[in-house]
Symmetry: D2
Subunit: 412 residues, 4 copies
């Protein structure tokens, strides 16, 4: 690969080597470069200031693990051709290419009912045109249409390279060191039997710890109450902006963001009209956050206040609980907000958020993690003797939260 | 503290500062220096070649955590006087001073029915004489006779500084990185309420992970099958040596080891005759392992073979199982050993080991880990909502193993 | 400090504790929060994708080291009052508060002849008003007007907490692990004699390594050729934008950035008109990069091309050399650019950059690093026997570079 | 490789994979297993308690780097056959197999004028017999008799895999983190030109830092004054023991150690009589230290005192200086020792040690580190422009030291 930079520094793995010229060219493409401008964890840096890493960096990391993993599986006798390897590598590299900025917050505002995996597929198809069909196999693997099932499992399952990298990367950059998993060891224990991915039985404690680490990251980072609060404020900002634009208010914003604020895009339109995806491909964290910065001077009191608060990190107060909040509480607080901030009930509703989040650390059944014994038996890890606690971890944990201006709190 | 080295390099914490002159002098004492010659993990380096760290290093590490922890608790308003602080620091520093070499393997051979905590207390009392009563408070705390109960809990409980350091240190030096716990974070979440140590409720996931890490270390390191095998071979060597000495064979060994081989020491004698403890204080890894090296030339075939095998790391084969082995199996293998090695049944029994190990990751009840809620409620972590899996981890897991010469294996 | 978050997670130090309520309130102020939106290393992430850390994070890190350092110096007998400690802590916390986005690139475009330290001082004075004079001592220390000279040296010298943190942080996030310095050890070797900061003589090798690490970071990261190229492209973009605006072209940009594009601000004006600093305090990476994103659709060919190239990371080719380039070369390449891109000579000049960079790893004399011997002698480290190589490192190294479109290269 | 353990945990590299069955069998051989019982850094743990790692562990680490390095060189187009790779791997694995316990201290006492590399070769030849000639190529490479010169350079030169591993490993286990080098990056910059090993020119700063790290490790660890003192006490102990044995005193010691104490072995005898090497192959840290422990009860006052002091870490006082000590000083101190300890002049001389140590960080000329430019030029790194400081580092630094009982110190 003459004259093409082949090695990228990574604080986690040391070096990431780009495995082929095609992969290099895909990385160079503007669709992929866009991921440099989309943070992996959105507003999480408001709690963990180091959490500024991007989807670009994560995609490279997951690619690196895929390369390592393929080497390992080959050394254990699993046949994987050069083409299959490149297919799996490209599939993991592009698995998140359809993510928009502040993904969870925006999805309800920008394009409803389209999940980012579908958009990833859309962009993979566009890139396949650019690269003249060289992504065919990657797309088959991504869609689980390729006969060697385990290649898809490496891209998407409860033990895929995506998860191994993001858990490690997110804990690294947040500094929540308990989330750090040993991806090397987990990969060294993978094996393929009957075209299915499995973990060697002796790896059971590592997997258990991986699941616990994931659970910890959920409650400590992804669903951290301050992060939840900031993200919900962002959702409210976007809703208010959309509402104002719909009512004819002229809000300053960047061209691609403006497009999505002005137009109500249906799922159908998104996949039919290729121009829309093109606009989407221009959208990143800069568009959203810069627009919010500009709205700090909006004439609309609600938008103005929410944007100033978010930019200066003056967040709403958040209460979190294992039980649902009393139905009246939200109403009472809304009343107080109306009084204190001199707002209508409808306006006040932007400052009183009540919702819940839930998570289960492991989902048995589909996508399960298989344990492979020396005698060839393969079972779902949740069913392994001695692992009662994994089955327990399959239970869904739900938590309720309410956000509101601190000065409007009510005593229980 | 003029002219006294005050800072020790530690690959784990960076620097360990010796907090006072008295502590410095205790560390300098030969009783404590002896711990430099006792590996924390005995024969574990046969599996993890980095695991050569000593009880000396661990004691310093636990002392360091105690210093940090006391600072933290004070910053949260718990009053701890200078004397109490030094007492707790000395108590943790000396908590393992009674350990002999290859502790678990030797305890049945050297002094029966005396556990190392009693011997630690014995040495603490001896040091208290040397230092003219300055260890009084440390001893009270160690024995849980001091009214501020939490000080003892820092020295000895399921969340004591001992555990925090050894888990971290053992995973560091073995390279089993999944066992690494975040001692800083755990300590930062400790709090004292009603003179009792507790973890702030938000720390629940960290504690959960701490328990899982401990469980993983048990099965991956402390009870690793190859380690089990080597330790059991060591036990057999010691038994054989003792048997031979009792029958008048003159085995070369170092003077302190020789003393314990020649004499049957009862619990009573150990605590009554202060000379015995003095001999014990001379005994370390060097005595045991060098004697075994010398026994490689013994005329006794059993001892000769076992010692050669252990020194050259030609270990017996070990089988491990969740179920007890068939009662006949041991007998059949013994027969084979008799034939292959030309031994009597009794001699052959040294090469066929059958036993079990068990562990429970968390023990509710006594010594429990308390969770402290904002409203002041304190509960056992195993009873916390959302932590069903901790209660599950309280179940005892038992595994059965059998060791024998590989060439004498039988098909099941 | 009730109800105020006191601990911040940091992947480098583990935890950063906010030492006082005043410091907490300063951190909460929008001036300081703005630093969350200014990357420490500008466009360096184009080479090292992890290098997204902000001036916010660095300021907290330097504050953390200051706290540690003050503890150390006190433990060695240097008297530092609570007020002095807080003064030094606030001085280091705010030492970079005057930095604008993409500092080096923008300084020539936004406000000429004003260096960021002067702006930092301006903001410190503004904050001092807000906090009713509580920053007086911090400002004195920052300006080196306080009699205990060493406090200023901790804030600004060749061994200040600023450098210790940024070298460590930059090497951490870039993954250039050779740059990692042992800040703990260096701090542990600091000492104050005659109100002057010095390193204990035994620390000489650590300091030597610190200087070499800094030198390595310069050439490997700060002056990495690809980073140089991207930054120089950014400078050209800003120059072109300013030129166009001056000529009446209406370029979309954010309000604060627009202000600086439209107005030529002199040094005098900046310090006289407090509104200007207020606008400056609104400016961050988002303003600059989002405007560049919008200029991708500019009608001006030069701006359009440069912006598209920068956003999509299609950088100019860069040549680097220890000798100055032949004077004709730039002219010849400019001609080629005119032809290939169909531009005028003046327009082409935006695509042909020729300049040099220089660095000396250590500067003897003012700001020097002092070595303190046991007998009380203090000398400049460059003069220490056995350290000939440090004096050698004082030599300035200069390198020349030229950037241009790859297809316009000329053979030498 | 069925039924052979292939992966070893290492806290530094994560996992070390054993690359072939032959290598596995060599590692299993008692000659190699002996290295488990020889600490890499002798008595250094008296200063850095973590420094207990063994020559066994280091040899595996160096082997691991060799595997990585061969992969890298192959990926850059250098042809290395499977046999050559295995040869180089075995050569590095066994490069230190001839080391005895406490190498530097013992060499003058045990076998004079034989350096450990010659003994390594002797053992390699013995192993070559055991493995029926399969080590031929390894031995050729080790002796630099194989035509591909760079393979020998990887085993033995100023940038060999030995150094890369030991610097990294020693700094890791001591906790002297400034010594940590980035072996991955250095290896990634290696290249072969004209069968000679070279570093790509861009790697110059990494090499500079590597040399500085080595220099730091010398003065901070290998020649640390307390380590020097302990090692010199050990030398004195061995000299006294040898003297006593020669004079007919019956000292207890282990059989192999006893052999070397009793017999004066010449270089000739060592290589002629294969039984001597066999005895040597039984000798390890346990023999030496256990014998010293036993000599704590010796009737000889000198031996008794020195051994008690070394075992209990009551070390002599050591003074270190850049200048040679005044000739009279040693005599005056010796007199004091005679008085205080009631010894003859000759006996007192065991307690007054005067010597010097020297080190040069880089040696130009033979074994030099080559820098390879893009145009194919290759130069000694000490001659590279901009690297004046490396040439400065070639100067030899010498330091003088004197050890004696603290109470016998004289004022200068």
């Amino acid at each position: 690969m003459p004259n093409k930079q082949k090695i990228i520094n990574d604080p986690i793995y040391g070096f990431i080597t780009i495995p082929s010229e095609l992969v290099f060219d895909i990385i160079e493409h503007p669709y992929f470069q866009r991921l440099r401008r989309i943070k992996q964890l959105g507003l999480t840096a408001y709690v963990y200031p180091g959490a500024l890493h991007t989807r670009f960096h994560h995609a490279l990391g997951a690619m690196h693990l895929m390369v390592t993993c393929i080497d390992t599986l080959r050394s254990k006798g699993t046949e994987i051709s050069t083409e299959e390897a490149e297919g799996a590598i490209i599939a993991i590299l592009l698995h998140d290419i359809g993510h928009g900025p502040f993904s969870h917050a925006l999805e309800s505002v920008i394009v409803k009912d389209v999940d980012h995996e579908e958009i990833s597929l859309l962009f993979m198809n566009k890139l396949n045109e650019v690269f003249e069909g060289k992504l065919n196999l990657a797309i088959q693997i991504f869609q689980n249409k390729y006969h060697k099932n385990f290649l898809h499992q490496l891209v998407s399952s409860q033990l895929d390279m995506d998860r191994l990298d993001y858990l490690k990367r997110d804990s690294f950059f947040t500094g929540v060191s308990e989330g750090i998993i040993n991806s090397d060891r987990i990969i060294s224990m993978l094996r393929v039997a009957n075209d299915t991915l499995a973990v060697e039985a002796k790896g059971i404690y590592s997997i258990e710890k991986f699941i616990i680490a994931r659970r910890l990251m959920y409650w400590q980072v992804y669903l951290h109450k301050t992060v939840l609060c900031a993200e919900n404020m962002l959702v409210k900002i976007l809703k208010r902006a959309k509402y104002l634009v719909k009512n004819g208010v002229d809000l300053p914003s960047t061209p691609p963001f403006n497009f999505f604020l002005k137009n109500e895009i249906s799922r159908q339109m998104f996949f039919d009209d290729s121009k829309i995806a093109e606009v989407f491909s221009r959208l990143d964290d800069y568009d959203i956050f810069t627009s919010i910065k500009m709205w700090q001077w909006s004439d609309d009191k609600v938008l103005n206040l929410l944007c100033n608060n978010l930019v200066d990190r003056k967040l709403l107060h958040i209460e979190i609980s294992n039980k649902a909040f009393d139905g009246d509480k939200q109403g009472i607080i809304n009343k107080r907000v109306q009084e204190k901030l001199n707002l209508t009930e409808e306006e006040a509703s932007y400052f009183v958020i009540s919702d819940s989040v839930s998570n289960n650390a492991y989902k048995p059944g589909q996508d399960k993690i298989n344990l492979l014994y020396r005698d060839g038996t393969m079972i779902d890890i949740a069913d392994a003797a001695d692992q009662l606690n994994i089955s327990v971890l399959s239970n869904t944990v739900e938590k309720f939260f309410m956000c509101y201006p601190k000065e409007c709190a009510v005593k229980d």
